[in-house]
Symmetry: C2
Subunit: 192 residues, 2 copies
């Protein structure tokens, strides 16, 4: 018999889903507790505010990306990087080009207005870029990425270009933005 998830855990999982689908402002506490199947009144036993829950949801979201495999996994580093973005693309295609990335969504909607959430987004982007930078540096040692690129700056550029490709794919309901990302990044940008 499976252990029942705690009420707190039900709220976090529901929040992640509701925030990702509807955004920060459109997902109210009542929407989240309804989705979690818990009484609204129980919310404040577990979280001080919707903001505090959003920070936990962002952290949970970031932890789902398997960055360790990207940074230090088996296989050729450029192939790991390709596979990483491919798996992100496949998720978006499976969602019919909706939802996008929670970091980017909250970055667009709420980062200007909430310092705690902005700090969590910043950390999420940085952790992601660090894993990419590790793969890029390894690829430079293997001679498969231009030696003159700064791995950290280039990694951050790739994170940003990916976030923008997501916006383009959602606006167009098409994978064309991803195709171009792969072609230009793994072509002229990175190739020695």
């Amino acid at each position: 018999m499976m252990a029942r998830r705690s009420m707190r855990e039900e709220i976090v999982e529901a929040a992640l889903e509701q925030f990702h689908t509807h955004g920060y402002n459109a997902a109210g506490v009542k929407t989240i507790t309804d989705a979690a199947g818990v009484p609204k009144g129980s919310f404040y036993n577990h979280f001080d505010s919707k903001e505090a829950l959003a920070v936990v949801a962002l952290r949970r979201y970031g932890a789902g990306r398997r960055l360790e495999d990207l940074a230090h996994g088996d296989g050729e580093p450029l192939a790991r990087l390709w596979a990483h973005f491919e798996s992100l693309r496949d998720l978006v295609v499976a969602q019919e080009f909706t939802r996008g990335c929670l970091l980017g969504n909250f970055g667009a909607e709420i980062a200007d207005h909430n310092e705690l959430i902005r700090a969590e987004i910043r950390e999420g982007f940085h952790a992601w870029a660090e894993a990419i930078a590790a793969a890029l540096a390894e690829a430079q040692r293997a001679g498969t990425v231009r030696a003159e690129l700064d791995p950290g700056d280039t990694a951050r550029f790739l994170v940003n270009a990916w976030e923008g490709a997501l916006l383009g794919a959602r606006a167009d309901r098409s994978a064309a933005a991803f195709d171009t990302f792969f072609a230009l990044v793994f072509g002229p940008l990175l190739t020695p």
Copy 2:
């Protein structure tokens, strides 16, 4: 004596400001009519819905970008492209890394949920990419951009990479994402 703007015009200008600063869901009709200094009841004399106003605001926003100068203006095409992104960056720096791009913000927050708004965002991105593609094609003829790049695809990649750089700059409250955009785009990506 200056002619007083019409009530409709006051609403559009206030909406553009409120949507850009607070986002779609956080800027209610009352917030917008208050900012415009008009009675809330007058709103529906001019617009069927907040959605209809958002479409008008997006179109107004897109028209403010002087795309004709970018596509067919005077001067070297790559210099026009650089100046274009520089002017966008300067606006964001002047806003202390807040607000970002209305197309990207609405793309993240509301495109999944509203087909009319999504169509307007799509058109805004496409018009922008077309102007960039014209400059890129001219630069290719002048030999200052890699001949093998498809101008349309590359233009769309630049739009997306810029949108992502905006998200990065807002998360970090820093121009670093723009610096890297300029260095990588006008370096390894475009240079023959």
